[in-house]
Symmetry: C2
Amino acid sequence: MGKKVLIVGGGPAGCAAGATFGMRGDDVTIVDMREDLRIRNGGPGPEQRSINLALSTRGLTALDAIGCGDGARELGVPMHGREVHALDGSTQFQQYGQFGQYLLSVPRSALNELVIDAAEKNGCQVLFGHKCRDLSLDEPSVTVEVGQGTERKLQADLVIGADGAFSRVRAMMMRKEWFNYSQDYIPAAYKELSISAENGKDMRLEALHIWPRHQFMLIALPNLDRSFTCTLFLDRDQFDKITTPAQVREFFQKWFPDALELMPDVDVQFFNNPTPGLVTVKTYPYHYSDKALLIGDAAHAIVPFYGQGCNLALEDVRILSDLLEEHGGILSSVLREFTEKRKQNADTIAKLALDNYSDMASRTASAYFQMRKKIGLALNRIAPKTFVPLYTMISFSNVPYSEAEQSAQRTERAITSLFSTAAVLSVLAAGTAATVAAVKTYQKSTRS
Amino acid sequence: MGKKVLIVGGGPAGCAAGATFGMRGDDVTIVDMREDLRIRNGGPGPEQRSINLALSTRGLTALDAIGCGDGARELGVPMHGREVHALDGSTQFQQYGQFGQYLLSVPRSALNELVIDAAEKNGCQVLFGHKCRDLSLDEPSVTVEVGQGTERKLQADLVIGADGAFSRVRAMMMRKEWFNYSQDYIPAAYKELSISAENGKDMRLEALHIWPRHQFMLIALPNLDRSFTCTLFLDRDQFDKITTPAQVREFFQKWFPDALELMPDVDVQFFNNPTPGLVTVKTYPYHYSDKALLIGDAAHAIVPFYGQGCNLALEDVRILSDLLEEHGGILSSVLREFTEKRKQNADTIAKLALDNYSDMASRTASAYFQMRKKIGLALNRIAPKTFVPLYTMISFSNVPYSEAEQSAQRTERAITSLFSTAAVLSVLAAGTAATVAAVKTYQKSTRS
C-alpha cells in the first residue's frame, strides 16, 4: 500500500518530489501558498524568485527522470559559454566546455509550470492558496490556512518541506532540540533588470553575458524571444547610495555604458524592482525520524554564482528516488541516508558558489584566470577522463559535488606544477642565455 | 523625557538591563512568560535552566553597578580552584589564581530573584505570566498572551529581547532580511544531579569539583548548605545507551565510584531529570535600527565550559550602560555600536567555551597541562601585568574577551619558547657534558 506523502511547497523541488512519489504509487498532496501559476497571465508574481535559472546536467537528469527534460529543453536557450563585456565595450566569448556542453537558460515560472503539470500527471493533488501554518512533527500533520482564517489539518506518513529558503516547515523543525541551522547573508544584494527583445536582437543569443567589474557585476541570461533577463549584483551599501534616476544613469554610464544603451529605461526599472539579499542556508540533519524531510532551498539555500541552486534541489529528488528504490521505501533508512549523502555535497557547492562570486566578478576578466582555464581544457582534451575541469564536473556531470571538488584540487595541483615547471624552465633558459653572453664577452675581451 | 523600554525575558540579563534603564529614568516594562519565582516555594521549575552559575568578575562588576553584587556574594560559595577527582578516588586541588581570586557558585534561581528585586527597586514594572506572541519591529510593539487566549499589545520606543537561547524576539527578527543566525549543538548533552548536604559535608566546599574522564566528565558546584549541584556531561549517543537503573549504577561504579557513594540515589535522579542539549547560538547584528536589541543568550548562547554564559550576558548590560552614557541615550548610535563592540567578544568566548570542554574533560588531568598552567602562573608572579594567564583574564578581569585571547596567545608563545629554550639548553648541556667527557678521554689516552 502506498504512503501518504504531504509536500509543502509547489516549486521545482516539491513538484519533482511529488512526481517521484506519485510514480511509486504513493498518495501525494502538494500544498502551496501561492495561486496556480498556470492561471495567472504571464509575468513573475510578487512572491516569485526572479533570477533566470541556468539548468545544467544535474537538473536536466532529474527532470528527465520525471519526464520533463525535453519540455525544459524546448523552453530554454542553450548557453555555450560566457560573453564577457569589457568597460570599453569590447566583448570576448569564453566557451564552457568542449563537447557541445551548455547551460540551459530557463524562465523560473515556465519551469515551475512544467513540473506542476508533471506532478499532476503522476497523480499528485496540488492545492494552491494553502498556507502552511503549523506542523506537528510526531504525528506528522500540517495545519494549512485556506483563505482568511479557515484552517485545515492534513495528516500524512511523511511531510516534505520544499518551501524554499524561508521555509515554514524548517522553522517548526528548528523548535526541536538537536537541529543545527545557519543563515548567512553576503554583502551583495541583487536587482533584476531586463533587456527587451528589440534591444537584445544583436546580442549573442546562446551565451551568458557578464560585465565583470571586480567589486560588482551585471549578468544577462537569454530568453527564447531574444529578450535578456539581467541581474545587477552590488554591495548593499552601494545600492543604498543610488537614490535618484540620475544616479542610476550615471552609475550605468560609468560602469556599463553598452548595457545602458540596451536598457534606456534602466532608471525606471531600477526603482520598480526590489533589492533582495543573497543568503546561504545550512541545516543538519535534513530529516526528523521517519516523519519529515527538508529538500531544496529549505534544506540548503546557496548563492546563485555557480548557477547550481535549482540543480542541487532537483538532484536532491534524484538521490531521494534512488534511496527509495534501494531501501524498498523504508523511510527511516531512506531519510537518514539522504541526510548523510546530501549534507557534504550541499556544503561543498555552497562554498564553491560563494567562491565563484569573485571568479565571475573579477577573474573572468583576468589573463591568468583565462590561461589556467585554457590549460585546464587542454589537459582535459589530452586526458578527458583524468583531467576534468571543476566547472565541467559541477555543471556537466552528475559526479557528487564533493568528489568533483576533490578531483579538481588534484587537477589544480597539476596545473600549478605545470606553471612552476614552465617558470623554472624560463629562468634556466634566461640563465643559459646570460651565461652564453658572458662567455662570449669574455672570449671577446681575451681576444682583443 | 524618559524612553519607553519593553524587555522580553525576566532572567538576569533582562532584569539587569531593566534596572539600568530604570536608573536612567526610563519607563521600563519587563514581561516574562513564567510565574514569579519569588512566589513559588523553592526548587527550580520546569522551564528553568538548572546548571549552577559560576559568577566571575564580569558578572559581579555588572551586578555591582545595579546594586546587587553584595547580595550575590552573600548567596554564593566562593570557589578558589578545581578539585580534580581521579578514577582511584584520589583528589588534587588546582588553584585558579594567586590573588585570592575565586568564582562564585550561585544557584540560578536565587540570582534571578535578586535581579528581579533590583529591577523593581529601580522602577521597572515586571509582568509575569506574559508570553511574547508577536513582535512588530517597525513600530515597535510586542503582543503578549496573558492567560488563555487573552492578548495585549504593548507599545515601546525600544524592545529588548532578553528571552534566552530559544528567544521569541529573535525568531521575529529573523524574518527580516539581512539577519545572520546560527545554532549548533555539540555531541554532548547534560544531566543535572545532586549531592545532599549530608553526603557533601566532607567534600572541599570552596572548590569546583571535576571528575575528568576524557570523553566525558562530571562536575559539582557547592551550595551554601554544603549540598552540591552536579552535572554529568556525556555524548548524547552514550546517554541513549543508559536505559535502566542498573546501567546507571554500573556506569557510575565504573567511572565515578566515589561520586556514586555520595549519590546513592543516582539511578532515581538520573531518570527524573531531563537530558538537554548544549547549543552555541550566534546572531548578527544584535540590533534592528533603533527599535530592537538582543542581549544575553538571545544574542549569543554559549556552552557552559568556561562558566561565562551568564557573565557574558551581564557584561552586555554593563557595556550597554556605558554606551547609553557615552551617546546621551541616542539609541541608533548606542545599538549600532553595541553590535560592533559585542559581536567579536561574544564570538571569542563562544570559541573558548567550546575549546574548554576538552581542557576540562582531559587536560586538567594531564601533567603537561598542569606544568604549562604553573609556568603561566609563575610568569604572572614575576611580571603580573605582562603575563596574565588566559583563564585569569577571562574569569578575573573585565578585559574584553578578544583582547584577552590575543594577549594570551602572546603568553602562550612565550611559554612555548621557554619550553623550547629549556629543551635546547638541556641538549646543549648534554652535548657539553659529552664533549667534556670526550676531551677527558682524549687527554687520558694521550697521557697514557
